[in-house]
Symmetry: C2
Subunit: 137 residues, 2 copies
């Protein structure tokens, strides 16, 4: 006689209560980080590139912090850096790579999903309650 396992395989509603419905796999660790998200958003808003100092101010980051995050993004192939000079001072210019633009756009798509999920909840509860009682004693 098959025992009733608690990890039931009953079909459920696939739409809003399926397994993995809220796992948000697309939230890549590299992109889903406050500081780096700000950096990417800044660069996406300025396709022709930004200087180290611009990013520092736009994202309110310390030098070391920004440097580290840029390295991470660079190693992930999301941005490219160009070393040059503006006037007498050395400057680092950053811009998104084509890949970076695509990855960022994909990430934003997931964020839209998160927002959409949350907005659905604001509605008067169209979703059926999940697993109120599953096996009364």
């Amino acid at each position: 006689m098959p025992r009733k396992t608690t990890t039931d395989k009953t079909p459920r509603a696939k739409t809003s209560a399926s397994a993995g419905r809220f796992s948000y796999d697309g939230l890549d660790r590299v992109l889903h980080e406050k500081a780096r998200l700000g950096i990417l958003a800044s660069l996406a808003a300025n396709p022709d590139g930004l200087l180290f100092n611009d990013l520092k101010q736009l994202c309110v980051l310390t030098d070391g912090n920004l440097s580290r995050h840029l390295t991470v993004l660079h190693e992930a192939g999301l941005l490219e850096t160009w070393k040059g000079t503006t006037g007498p001072r050395p400057q680092t210019m950053c811009r998104l790579t084509a890949n970076g633009q695509r990855r960022f756009a994909e990430y934003i798509t997931v964020l839209e999903q998160v927002v959409a999920d949350a907005q659905r909840d604001a509605q008067p509860a169209t979703t059926p309650p999940l697993s109120k009682r599953r096996s009364p004693a």
Copy 2:
């Protein structure tokens, strides 16, 4: 004679290129985490609460992981847990606190801002380029 500092106080455009424009201060560390974001979204979608196992499946988390994140959220006052039994087994029921609902809603507002920023970029560049050259040699 006042030296020209690079941290310039020039007004700039306050709308889209001001300092801190992309710092996203509202992205609270407790909420801005893949796993916890999934948990919160799940609970927001099910205001009458979810069981430990429901969350485990919805968010695809291991037991230990989920347990830890629930503790963090609980300590932050975002959710409350109720220990009971469903049939013979002990069960933990989780639901958002009023505070948790509010904080989550606030967080979602920031996400909307992020998405809006990114969507603005998709437009043919209405924003003026920031700091192309600031002090020609």
